[in-house]
């Protein structure tokens, strides 16, 4: 049979960010203005946030193994520098929306470990009162619009948030995150087109961890060297970023933010990163990548350890401080697990709340009548 008729994917080599081609060392972006401007305290705070994400996620594994978390649990371990670097740059008119691997973003925008852990265990004290679960964290008071379960479905929403910012004449943006598996969804391309067509201040952040569930990028995406470069088809700017270096993430994202804030122009950023655990806790992670690959990433490219090393060298951190930051993050995560344990479940009556605004806010201002929840 003609080879062209088979469906074996061809492998296209990725163009990686320059810094990713070399052995990891001190960041060449440490002196970029957005990083040079950071005080020691701010650097320590950024490091602390990355550490908190890691320990929260690791505590989630235990809670999951104890059988207290149902459904899907997609961990962010290994990807911390992406959420930390990008979100650390945002101001009051900048918004965040992402897919289902959403814990890191939630903690970065300032959600508490308590509300995050309680949501995972389905408790009324969870951020969504036990109605959303792992994939559906929300904190609109912190400009965080989820937490979305359907791959790529959030891209048009993020474009709409950016549209609203522009409609109001505000200098702001929306960072719409997705995984590398989302880039082949039609909704993402429709969002790209609208963003470019209408000059919307949206930054599409592709967190490329190499695998869409168990399918490697080589087996899922045709691309002209990298996924971000598809932006050229829409006349959008794009960049590729080493997601193991939080300084590089900040430096390059700040350029995209400037483009959004000052010119109201969209950007596609592809951030190369890696997840240490399976796609979700339901993924035994045995069939599609070898253990050596994970080990190499952990040992040579870990974003938390690399930043720690950088800050130790710069004498911003000390060994003692590192230890105490890790210790308190672990304690905070443990306390969150206890909080979640001790929190009550929602009640049967809660099942039918929060379906309609009009039902939850009955009063003279509500215009609808009739039966809306059926027996």
């Amino acid at each position: 049979m003609d080879g062209k008729l088979t469906t074996v994917a061809k492998s296209t080599a990725f163009t990686h960010p320059e810094s990713l081609k070399r052995p990891a060392g001190p960041s060449e972006f440490a002196q970029h203005p957005v990083n040079a401007a950071l005080t020691s305290a701010e650097k320590i705070a950024l490091y602390t946030k990355m550490v908190r994400i890691r320990h929260f996620e690791q505590r989630c594994i235990r809670t999951y193994q104890q059988g207290k978390i149902g459904g899907f649990l997609h961990l962010y371990v290994g990807q911390e520098a992406v959420a930390a670097g990008t979100i650390s740059l945002l101001g009051k008119n900048d918004h965040v929306i992402t897919g289902y691997r959403d814990h890191g973003h939630g903690l970065m925008v300032g959600m508490s470990m308590n509300e995050c852990m309680a949501e995972l265990t389905g408790k009324i004290t969870g951020c969504s009162q036990g109605k959303g679960g792992s994939m559906h964290y929300f904190a609109p008071d912190k400009n965080y619009w989820g937490g979305h379960g359907i791959v790529g479905g959030q891209a048009p929403l993020g474009t709409g948030l950016a549209y609203a910012v522009k409609y109001r004449g505000l200098k702001g943006s929306c960072l719409a995150y997705m995984g590398d598996g989302a880039v082949n969804q039609g909704a993402v391309h429709e969002a790209y087109n609208l963003a470019a067509l209408w000059d919307l201040p949206v930054i599409f952040v592709i967190e490329n961890n190499g695998y869409s569930m168990g399918t490697s990028q080589e087996r899922s995406s045709a691309h002209p060297g990298c996924l971000a470069k598809r932006a050229e088809g829409y006349g959008m700017d794009w960049d590729i970023i080493n997601g193991h270096d939080v300084y590089e993430v900040r430096a390059k994202t700040s350029e995209a933010l400037k483009r959004a804030h000052e010119k109201s122009k969209p950007t596609v950023l592809e951030i190369f990163t890696y997840r240490y655990f399976g796609h979700s806790m339901a993924d035994p992670d045995k069939t599609y990548r070898d253990k050596e690959e994970i080990k190499t990433y952990r040992e040579t490219k870990d974003p938390v350890f690399l930043f720690e090393k950088e800050l130790l060298l710069a004498k911003v951190l000390t060994k003692e401080l590192v230890e105490s930051i890790n210790q308190s993050a672990m304690e905070e995560a443990d306390a969150a697990a206890v909080f979640a344990d001790e929190s009550p479940d929602p009640t049967v009556a809660d099942i039918t709340k929060h379906i309609y605004w009009e039902e939850d806010n009955r009063g003279p201002q509500t215009t609808s009548r009739g039966t809306i929840i059926f027996e």
């Binding site: 929403l157 474009t159 609203a164 429709e190 609208l194 215009t367 609808s368």
Partner: protein, 325 residues
């Protein structure tokens, strides 16, 4: 009172709401420069300018999703679908995002979006353009669905929908766009979830929505003139919320019910209405509930056959006589 068309009534609703609230934006394919594929939005671009009246590319999942995202930040988009049939390529946005986000966020977010456009067969365009998805969409808690049958209701329901803080899907009918009726110039709304008795009667209740109301009214006239039967026609106007009490009160009065809709029969709106009547008015019924819907097949292209596939007055009369037998 001015007499205007269903189309003009929809336009008046949008014009009044655009003036009332600067967050209202009209968006969709051909709504601005082209003046609307069905001319519903004609003249709005000229009056309100391109910031408020926005042409979109043919990209339903993209622009509907964009509208949903914008609504989360307080914009009140009124999105036109050239046909509700096209909603199927945006189903994830319409159902998963607009319909679920309030619930999944534990009530932190709401989504004041309106999606409107025609949802009907009978226009000789074949199966892909003739869907009536009101039952499919109304089966999702979180979503509201209304189906105006008259110019008065079209204006009042659309205005209520635009002011509503939940997603409201307004299903219109191209065949009704030229129908005329009395519509007040002044501001009014038709509350969502309130049915309307379009004709009073004592022998039989016909429950209908959308254009099936018009068909049923014609049948009611024939039934009265030719068979001496007094028919009450209940126009649901809103599918979800559903005005159960008006349906039940009418059935308790007439003791007989015929349900008419342009949907296909399986899991149509009237399957729910029939359940309601038997559950709560069983002892009031003097006969089994009758039903008329479209003949159960994808919409046929051939115009002569399509007219027969849809409920038409003769078929409604025949079914009514069976219920009355």
């Amino acid at each position: 009172m001015p007499v205007i068309s269903y189309r003009e009534a929809l336009r008046a609703a949008m014009r009044e709401e655009l003036k009332r609230d600067e967050n209202v934006v009209i968006m969709g394919e051909e709504v601005a420069q082209f003046n609307g594929a069905y001319k519903v939005t004609e003249g709005l671009l000229k009056e309100f300018g391109p910031k408020r009246i926005v042409d979109t590319p043919i990209s339903e999942a993209g622009f509907i999703g964009l509208g949903i995202g914008a609504s989360m930040l307080g914009i009140r988009p009124v999105m036109e679908l050239m046909f509700w049939s096209f909603s199927y390529v945006a189903f994830d946005q319409i159902v998963n995002n607009a319909g679920n986000i309030r619930y999944m966020s534990g009530g932190l977010i709401h989504c004041p979006i309106v999606i409107r456009g025609p949802a009907n067969g009978g226009t000789n365009v074949g199966a892909t353009h003739s869907h009536t998805p009101e039952a499919i969409l109304a089966s999702h808690p979180g979503i509201k669905v209304v189906c105006p049958a008259t110019p008065y209701d079209a204006k009042g329901l659309l205005k209520a929908a635009i002011r509503d803080n939940d997603p409201v899907y307004v299903m219109e009918n191209t065949i009704l766009y030229n129908d005329k009726g009395e519509v007040p110039d002044e501001d009014y709304i038709v509350p969502i979830g309130v049915a309307d008795i379009k004709r009073e009667g004592s022998d039989l209740t016909i429950v209908a929505h959308g254009r099936a109301v018009i068909t049923s009214l014609k049948a009611a006239e024939i039934l009265e003139k030719e068979h001496g039967v007094s028919v009450e026609v209940v126009d649901l106007r809103s599918i979800r919320p559903l005005d159960e009490e008006t349906i039940l009160a009418s059935v308790r009065k007439t003791h007989r019910a015929l349900l008419v809709e342009e949907n296909k029969p399986f899991c149509g709106v009237d399957a729910q209405v029939a359940y309601l009547i038997q559950a709560r008015a069983f002892d009031d019924l003097d006969a089994p509930i009758g039903r008329v819907s479209s003949i159960d097949a994808p919409q046929i292209y051939c115009k002569r056959m399509e007219d027969l596939q849809l409920p038409h007055p003769a078929r409604v009369v025949e079914a009514a006589l069976k219920v009355l037998a």
